[in-house]
């Protein structure tokens, strides 16, 4: 008997009586899905937020708040050569500006998939990360988020909530472990 058959047989023999799945109704309570609620949580996580009319305002804001950026990758710009290059070469990206799909007010998370970021490692390997999210896409809790996201459409998706961090050394919080050292969210009107 292969290990597969052996494990499955033991599981089948030992599994308890089947029970019904619980309903997920009413779990979100009365959490607000507002920009104010989202901003408060995001700032608590060490991220920052700017409201902009549209994406054209972003470069000037970046130049003002991150004066030392050398290599910036902006999804949707004409500069696309990097998409087909070895992802290891993204190591020197100082800032990546990527579109987010849904924001979650209760925990500050933003959902993005490989379709938007093009190269999976981009939002992790860049030194700083900017996510652009339309205001209308902020939802109260994770339940609404999964409802909106629905079935997976591609191979990879991720919720990102704040900059990368660690507290492994005596529980002192340090931002910038392995992923982006800072996160800025641009909320567009729409």
């Amino acid at each position: 008997m292969s290990s597969r058959e052996q494990i499955l047989a033991a599981v089948k023999q030992h599994q308890p009586e089947a029970s019904v799945l619980p309903s997920l109704e009413g779990l979100s309570g009365s959490m607000p899905g507002t920009l104010e609620a989202y901003r408060k949580v995001l700032e608590g996580l060490g991220g920052s937020l700017f409201e902009v009319k549209d994406e054209k305002e972003i470069p000037a804001l970046l130049a003002e708040h991150y004066p030392h950026l050398q290599r910036i990758i902006t999804i949707g710009s004409n500069e696309r050569a990097w998409i087909n290059e070895d992802p290891h070469l993204l190591e020197n990206v100082d800032m990546a500006v990527v579109p987010g799909l849904w924001g979650v007010a209760e925990n500050g998370a933003i959902w993005l998939t490989e379709q938007e970021v093009q190269v999976r490692v981009l939002p992790f390997i860049c030194q700083h990360l900017a996510i652009v999210l339309p205001k209308s896409r902020i939802l109260p809790t994770m339940h609404e988020a999964y409802e909106k996201i629905g079935a997976p459409q591609n191979g990879f998706g991720v919720f990102i909530a704040g900059p990368s961090k660690t507290a492994d050394i005596e529980q002192s919080l340090v931002l910038g472990a392995h992923g982006a050292k800072s996160l800025v969210v641009f909320i567009t009107e729409a």
């Binding site: 599981v11 030992h14 799945l21 979100s28 994770m142 919720f159 909530a161 507290a167 472990a177």
Partner: protein, 458 residues
């Protein structure tokens, strides 16, 4: 495998020799527990979430056979290669085989308690393959040649000065620098190089969805993603109990996990791996290693609901004052003490006794496992099977006698309080193991049950 060398009490004694450190450990974990409480209270439907999570896991265990087959089918369709390992040895053989086939001699690994349980690192080292643990806490204990002492906070037993020393020795940071910010920056630099060189990445799995064949991995550091998205080969290792039925159930678990673990609203990254990226190989190793046996133990099967948040450890008065290493098993604390005897009753017979049965663990558990009740049940099984020492066996008999007779319980308490007041030296002496390195608190003039009796009337 690593035979037991000393039991929990002996190892806890060793940890207690350094009193300031024990106090720090105790207080820090309690602080993490307090952060968890604050988060839990900020969600009005918290208890409903716990009930729901527990019910989803119950459904998952009751249909595990069907869900495993569904998961395998979906994952295969997604382009992953699924492997099945009956035990730790087979898991290690499978991982080694994949690496050898590709000539990989160097890999990065993100946190996976399963690979700790299977002792993957020493096995790979014996086969000439170098593993770099990339979670900062795990890298620290790896440099110190120690196992993690906590499933979420692997080096919570270490002080920053010791970490500074380790980094000075291994990474060349200046001697005497113990600043967490500085040391983290040094580790980031050092591990970036490793990520950029590694041909293969091993990750753990927090949740695997039967419906979609995808796996969710949660980290704050981003190390699982840095590893998996840069390497040519991604090997995800998971216990068979990680399966949940549907994607929407992730909403329930992701709301509970980080809040229970560290008091954060969610981990920085909750990554959903479904298909390998173009040109990449994705392997999933499904590991039993005693889980199907635990599933058959009616009294203990609920332990398989565990989502490894660590809350039961942070709140446990014994764990906080004895340290993770005293449990001499990969998963320490109250939940570890239920899981380990399933793997080896004899080697881990001491662990279910390393508890005061106060029930604090069960109160915080996000999936509502009856942890302290299972610990009590293990004691009975272990005594019956003859795996305990004579004194524990006698103690158990007396315990169950006293606890089942409220009259005796009250009389015993009364007598104890009297003895403590009259002859403190009799309790706080070298013969009583509970009071080593401890000052006895002054006994209350009135016991809780006396107080309760008196105040009930008013």
């Amino acid at each position: 495998m690593n035979r037991q060398t000393a039991d929990h009490a002996t190892l806890a004694d060793r940890f207690n020799e350094n009193e300031p450190r024990v106090d720090w450990h105790d207080q820090t974990l309690w602080w993490v527990r307090a952060k968890r409480d604050k988060m839990a209270r900020s969600i009005p439907e918290w208890e409903q979430l716990r009930d729901t999570a527990s019910a989803i896991k119950r459904n998952a265990l009751g249909n595990l056979y069907e869900y495993l087959i569904q998961f395998e089918q979906q994952a295969t369709q997604n382009g992953a290669i699924v492997h099945w390992a009956a035990d730790a040895a087979e898991h290690n053989r499978i991982v080694t085989g994949i690496l050898q086939q590709h000539g990989v001699r160097h890999l990065v690994k993100s946190k996976s308690m399963l690979t700790e349980e299977c002792h993957l690192n020493p096995h790979l080292a014996a086969n000439g393959i170098e593993v770099i643990d990339t979670d900062l806490g795990e890298r620290i204990v790896q440099l110190a040649k120690e196992p993690p002492s906590h499933i979420v906070l692997p080096c919570i037993h270490k002080k920053k000065e010791e970490i500074g020393e380790l980094f000075h020795e291994h990474l060349g940071t200046p001697a005497g620098n113990a600043d967490p910010q500085f040391l983290t920056a040094a580790a980031r630099q050092h591990l970036r190089k490793e990520f950029l060189q590694a041909k293969a990445a091993v990750t753990g799995v927090n949740f695997a969805v039967a419906e979609t064949g995808e796996m969710v991995v949660c980290t704050n550091e981003g190390n699982a993603d840095m590893g998996a998205h840069l390497a040519d080969i991604h090997i995800a290792c998971m216990g068979i109990e990680k399966i949940i039925p549907q994607r929407k159930h992730l909403g329930v678990f992701l709301r509970l996990l980080a809040r229970s673990a560290t008091g954060q609203p969610i981990t920085t990254y909750s990554s959903h791996f479904r298909q390998p990226r173009a040109g990449q190989e994705l392997h999933i190793v499904l590991v039993d290693n005693g889980r199907s046996r635990q599933l058959g133990r009616e009294d203990f099967r609920n332990s398989l609901k565990c989502i490894r948040c660590g809350a039961c450890m942070n709140t446990c008065p014994v764990y906080r004052r004895s340290g993770g290493h005293s449990y001499h098993t990969a998963v320490a604390g109250p939940i570890g003490a239920i899981l380990a005897p399933n793997l080896d009753m004899k080697d881990y017979a001491d662990l279910p006794f390393a508890s005061t049965l106060c029930g604090s663990c069960s109160n915080v558990c996000p999936v509502k496992i009856d942890i302290h009740q299972q610990l009590y049940k293990w004691r009975q099984v272990l005594v019956k099977e003859g795996h305990t020492t004579a004194s524990k066996t006698a103690g158990m008999k007396m315990m169950s006698g006293v606890l089942s007779a409220p009259r005796t319980y009250r009389a015993a308490g009364k007598m104890g309080r009297w003895v403590m007041r009259a002859f403190p030296g009799m309790v706080n002496n070298r013969l009583n193991p509970w009071y080593k390195q401890r000052e006895m608190p002054a006994p209350p003039a009135q016991s809780f049950s006396q107080w309760y009796e008196k105040n009930k009337k008013s």
